[in-house]
């Protein structure tokens, strides 16, 4: 186990710079998830931690040791790849024991460690099978087993669940989380799926265009997003954004959208007339008789809840309610926005106000 420190990391491919001075501190035993849209540099950063990509500038240390020029094999890490990267010609046991065999460990020790890891992951019956005889989820578990056998200082996961179907992904999410609780090893995990990030991480690093947008605990990011990007990225369905400006009425601050809709603004630190973006999560909108009138355009009932897409004045807005609604598209509902849950962002910089 070890802490990982990423200091001012820069990555350039020729003249193109893809990572611009990233700093991340990962504590010993922490489960950290790097999340962001495709091309944000999260996988590149992980590969730099693994030693598979050279570092253009900055410093990465694992367990207090600077590893910039250390080969992957000497970094004491294990990595799980998106497409599992199993050796197709080796069976499950050989795949899992390969790293120990390379180190010249005695066969009995290899067998014992493989068996133990197989027990943890329920792979006992599959040890003789070859990768092509396994399902996606089983392959994924073998890849994880291979990492466990190493007993490394840090686990690196590169979008490990992206190739699995939705149901299996949920199951594997739980397994990985359990594994972390059981082993307590530091994990750096890359995903583009904010649900994975929210559900599994101790700490989330949100990245965009090679820069860190915000670092924080999942619920902290959800409650206090630092800017419009993080606010839109974290949370599902995504936050509603309405463009407009701050005004005051009867001594209270209000928000007036560009299309003229007036919404409660809460106690925002913004000046009157400032151009802002108004953010409210769908789950923080209720349907109550004393709300603002909105016209329903689409309803999406999922059983446990109903997502309502509506027009509030000239602005599209969606809400999630627990009730089953009897309204039809085209009819009116009354939406009440919880003013305490409103996020106001500066329109130009995107920063939270």
């Amino acid at each position: 186990m070890a802490q990982v420190t990423v200091r001012n990391i820069v990555k350039r491919y020729g003249s193109v710079q893809v990572i611009h001075g990233v700093n991340v501190d990962i504590a010993d035993g922490e489960f950290v998830i790097l999340v962001g849209p495709s091309g944000c540099g999260k996988s590149t950063l992980l590969r730099m931690i693994a030693g598979l990509e050279p570092i253009s500038d900055g410093e990465i240390s694992i367990g207090g040791r600077v590893v910039n020029d250390v080969l992957p094999k000497d970094r004491d890490i294990a990595m799980v790849f998106q497409n599992y990267a199993l050796y197709p010609h080796k069976n499950v046991a050989d795949n899992m024991g390969f790293s120990l065999k390379i180190k010249g460990r005695p066969k009995a020790e290899i067998d014992a460690k493989v068996k133990k890891a197989a027990e943890i992951l329920d792979l006992g019956k599959l040890l003789d099978r070859f990768p092509k005889q396994l399902s996606g989820g089983q392959r994924q578990r073998v890849a994880m087993g291979r990492a466990i056998v190493r007993d490394p200082q840090v686990f690196l996961f590169d979008e490990p669940l992206s190739n699995l179907d939705a149901k299996l992904r949920v199951a594997m999410r739980v397994e990985i989380k359990e594994l972390h609780q059981r082993l307590g090893t530091t994990i750096v995990y890359v995903t583009h799926d904010q649900i994975e990030a929210m559900t599994m991480a101790d700490k989330i690093v949100v990245m965009r265009d090679g820069k860190v947008e915000q670092i924080g605990a999942p619920l902290n990011l959800y409650d206090n997003p630092g800017n419009v990007f993080v606010a839109g990225f974290i949370g599902s369905p995504a936050m509603n954004f309405i463009k407009g400006s701050i005004d005051s009425k009867d001594g209270e601050q209000i928000f007036v959208s560009d299309t003229g809709t007036v919404l409660p603004a809460g106690g925002v630190k913004a000046q009157g007339g400032q151009q802002v973006i108004y953010g409210i999560r769908p789950e923080h909108i209720d349907i109550t008789p004393d709300g603002l009138p909105a016209t329903v355009s689409v309803l999406e009932p999922t059983g446990s809840e109903t997502q309502v897409f509506a027009k509030l004045g000239g602005d599209a807005i969606d809400a999630i309610v627990k009730d089953r609604l009897t309204v039809r598209p085209g009819e009116e509902v009354r939406l009440r926005i919880d003013p305490r849950r409103v996020h106001i962002f500066d329109r130009r910089s995107g920063a939270r106000l």
Partner: protein
């Protein structure tokens, strides 16, 4: 739907084969004392067993095939690895290295003959002026053998390179990265990851090259004519000599059948040794 295939296969494959088989059981030399086909039973085959020329030819052919194919696979793999790397002019070298493949064997033989003929060839000239060595493949059996091997390597290594390059290019990169993280060094990655993953391509190439090498005729015929003595009289050339200059069709056909059989057996042995045995292996 299969009719055209069967017809073509029948006309060009099965009928000639059956005819050769038929001829093999006859004595037939149309320009000999008796120009008619006379049924001979297994006489031709019996004659083969005691034919020392034929047996020597088998030995030489196997030696030739072993040295040629072995060197081609090693050299071909090294070249394929080289072409996997980025270096200036890679596309150009990739292209020109395949040029020998498009040259007809008879032309290759002619060119190498020109290059090796004493007093006019560049190779004897350079060997003489640099090392004081007299190269005369008309007299030196070892050198003649070596040159047929070198010529075959020159001609066919590009094929091996192309096949192995295609295999290497199509490999996923993750297992190699995984192996790096698992702690394997270059040699271990080659032995435990690369080699097993391109094994099918290597086997296919070895089979193709082995079958080709066992029936080589024209190049060797141009270069050495099978000499000196019978030092480079490989099986293909041996059969050709029986069938054409000697017009001993019956005996030639019997030899062909045996050579076909030998080739099949060798490929089967190789297959068992390299493929089947591995398939049965199951480690706990």
């Amino acid at each position: 739907m299969l009719a055209p295939t069967i017809a073509i296969l029948g006309i060009f494959g099965i009928v000639p084969f059956l005819y050769v088989l038929y001829v093999a059981f006859h004595q037939w030399n149309p320009f000999g004392a008796n120009p008619y086909m006379i049924y001979n039973g297994a006489g031709n085959f019996r004659r083969l067993v005691f034919d020392s020329e034929f047996l020597t030819s088998i030995a030489f052919t196997l030696k030739f095939a072993f040295f040629a194919v072995f060197s081609e696979v090693i050299l071909g793999y090294l070249l394929a690895q080289l072409f996997m790397r980025e270096f200036p002019g890679r596309a150009f070298f990739r292209t020109i290295h395949t040029l020998p493949l498009i040259v007809a064997p008879i032309v290759v033989g002619s060119v190498w003959r020109l290059m090796t003929t004493p007093s006019i060839g560049i190779i004897p000239y350079l060997l003489k002026s640099w090392f004081g060595y007299d190269l005369n493949i008309g007299r030196d059996a070892t050198m003649a053998f070596a040159l047929t091997v070198i010529m075959d390597i020159w001609h066919w290594t590009p094929l091996v390179t192309l096949t192995l390059l295609a295999a290497l290019v199509s490999l996923p990169k993750e297992p190699f990265e995984q192996a790096q993280i698992d702690g394997a060094n270059r040699w271990q990655i080659f032995w435990h990851v690369t080699l097993p993953m391109i094994r099918p391509a290597i086997l296919a190439t070895v089979f193709i090259r082995l079958m080709d090498a066992l029936r080589t005729v024209d190049e060797v015929w141009m270069l050495t004519g099978g000499g000196p003595g019978a030092a480079t009289r490989y099986l293909g050339l041996h059969i050709w000599k029986i069938v054409f200059p000697k017009t001993d069709y019956g005996y030639g056909s019997a030899t062909s059948i045996i050579v076909l059989y030998l080739t099949l057996v060798m490929c089967w042995l190789l297959y068992v040794a390299l493929v089947a045995r591995r398939g049965q292996r199951r480690t706990p």
